[in-house]
């Protein structure tokens, strides 16, 4: 059964939307998606929302999702972890044949969270990790350190990623942290936890997005070719984590590849809470012929490179909308495909900052 994106809507990333609560943010995004699709809530069979109660500061958040997105009295479910999982969940609902059109929503109200590092900290094991009180930047930094060692990269490569994404974001009106910044300027920023500098870290932001998926070809704007997801080596005490590798990426991609014949995409959008995440996931995919860091240095991932990566600006250029990052990538991908410049893309999003798990979606402009 074929699935298409019928319409997308978002409100631009911002450090804070003080004037809107999450309902108002989602309403604005959903209204744009309906307008884009040329349909109304009456045409929608269900809503799949992405949410993490710990991020929202409110229990059982799925109860508060339907009203503002046109989901009243319809099927409604909430999927945890990154929003790309919610997107895939909606695809699976459509493939059952019981749904014709499903709305996927995600939002981040990061400005509401006053101690985000501690929220992430509480995902660690209370016996053998938490007593050491590591900041999650330090956990991520160890991943970066291990990745650079594994791949033959160096810390400057992280600045290349950050500068590329911030500059790409200059073309994206939804980006909050676009900047015409040089590699040297990123290199001069303070170190937060070696080898990570301040500029290598995506800044949490407020954001909302809505995507309408349909099996009705006449509504299709962009085609969903395939999807996949997996969890890699992972335990809350970090003992099973293989540092510096994104094992999930290849497994998820292989799941997607089994669904299609396509073996080449024109660009990649990948959520990167940290600069090394982008490289680590690309390496995990195994789709870059040469060494990933060398390709980066040669400009291969630039907007005009052989495989543009995060032409939207990624999370470093746009802002990191927590669990909504995957849907942020998806919306940017749809918008970029509709420019006519590219005809296919790979969308990827890990399930969090330091998690070896995530999801991928392959899109094409062919309808």
């Amino acid at each position: 059964m074929d699935i298409w994106v019928a319409g997308v809507g978002e409100i631009p990333c911002r450090p804070s939307y003080d004037e809107m609560d999450f309902r108002e943010m989602l309403y604005r995004a959903a209204a744009k998606a309906y307008l884009d699709a040329g349909i109304t809530p009456a045409d929608v069979d269900g809503v799949v929302s992405s949410g993490m109660d710990f991020y929202e500061g409110m229990s059982i958040t799925d109860s508060y999702t339907p009203d503002q997105v046109g989901g009243r009295l319809k099927f409604n479910t909430l999927v945890s972890n990154d929003a790309l999982n919610a997107f895939i969940h909606a695809c699976m609902l459509l493939k059952t044949g019981q749904f014709r059109t499903v709305l996927v929503t995600a939002y981040a109200k990061a400005s509401n969270i006053l101690n985000y590092p501690e929220i992430v900290f509480n995902s660690f094991d209370p016996h053998v990790v938490r007593p050491l009180t590591p900041h999650f930047y330090a956990i991520a930094a160890m991943d970066a350190q291990a990745y650079l060692l594994n791949s033959g990269g160096d810390a400057r490569d992280l600045s290349l990623v950050a500068a590329k994404n911030k500059r790409n974001a200059l073309r994206n009106p939804s980006a909050a942290f676009a900047e015409n910044i040089s590699i040297e300027e990123v290199e001069s920023m303070e170190v937060v936890s070696e080898p990570l500098r301040k500029g290598h870290v995506a800044v949490p932001c407020d954001y909302a997005a809505a995507v309408l998926l349909t099996t009705e070809k006449s509504l299709g704007k962009v085609r969903v070719e395939a999807f996949g997801y997996s969890i890699g080596s992972y335990s809350v005490d970090l003992s099973l984590k293989e540092w510096g590798r994104s094992h999930w990426a290849r497994a998820a991609l292989e799941m997607a590849l089994r669904q299609i014949r396509m073996r080449r995409v024109d660009f990649v959008e990948v959520s990167e809470p940290f600069a090394h995440t982008e490289l680590m996931v690309l390496d995990g995919f195994g789709i870059v012929g040469e060494n990933v860091c060398k390709t980066l240095r040669d400009g291969g991932f630039n907007m005009d490179g052989y495989l543009p990566v995060n032409p939207s600006g990624g999370c470093i250029g746009m802002g990191y909308p927590l669990n909504a990052a995957g849907l942020q990538r998806l919306v940017q991908s749809v918008n970029l495909l509709r420019t006519g410049r590219w005809s296919s893309c790979l969308v990827a999003s890990p399930d969090g900052e330091v998690v070896d798990g995530g999801a991928v979606v392959v899109l094409s402009a062919e309808v």
Binding site: E19, E24, P41, P66, I113, R130
Partner: protein, 219 residues
């Protein structure tokens, strides 16, 4: 990171435990900590085969107090509502599509899925649509001698039925407390009005309405 601040079990709770477990809890000072004692009970019954000498004295529990701090942006509609309360006014929005009045207000109508930007002021008089005499607090160990009357107030003139909708009834209404009435005399349909705090005490909160009280002649 903040380590847990131990809180004491209530003596009543200890009395409910089997004596051997209660004695163990006291002996190890665990009555000064918090935790789920039922998990201790199941631990004592559990048979461990891999480590033969395992016993409950070896059990270690790590205590963590999870510190989650949030601020909640009220947004455009609810901010204006709260600001209204500070000024002694109950503000709502009215959908020009279905005609519903929304109190607390929203900037969208979930029935019509359209923008709502017509603002109305309401005097706050209404009826009790449902209520309960509550003897318990959010801490289950707390029991009130006199009940708190929690109620949902439906504001006058806002009840609306829509036959075209699968929702049969709408009314603008808020949850609040009812006072100034003998609990035995509270009833569904009782007419009530808001009792406001003094202007200098109002801060832009739902508590700027101190409570709802019966209208004269009802209660």
């Amino acid at each position: 990171m903040t380590r847990a601040t131990p809180s004491r079990f209530s003596p009543n709770y200890l009395k409910q435990l089997p004596e051997d477990l209660a004695e163990y809890v006291r002996r190890h000072g665990l009555d000064k900590e918090f935790g789920r004692l039922d998990s201790w009970s199941s631990s004592m019954e559990k048979t461990y085969t891999e480590i033969e000498e395992w016993q409950i004295d070896n059990l270690i529990i790590s205590y963590w107090h999870i510190e989650c701090m949030y601020k909640h942006a009220a947004g455009f509609a609810v901010s204006r509502f709260l600001e209204g309360l500070k000024n002694g006014k109950i503000l709502g929005t009215k959908c020009e599509g279905c005609g519903r009045v929304l109190i607390p207000p929203r900037i969208f109508c979930e029935w019509c899925f359209r923008d709502v930007d017509t603002w109305v002021e309401h005097p706050g008089t209404g009826v009790i649509s449902t209520y309960s005499l509550s003897y318990i607090g959010t801490d289950p160990r707390v029991r009130f001698e006199k009940p708190i009357i929690v109620a949902v107030i439906w504001f006058d003139g806002t009840v609306k039925k829509a036959n075209s909708s699968r929702t049969v009834l709408h009314s603008a209404g808020i949850l609040h407390k009812v006072q100034g009435v003998d609990p035995e005399k509270v009833h569904v349909g009782m007419r009530v009005k808001p009792v406001w705090r003094r202007p200098e005490e109002r801060v832009g909160s739902i508590l700027d309405i101190e409570y709802f009280a019966p209208l004269e002649g009802d209660g």
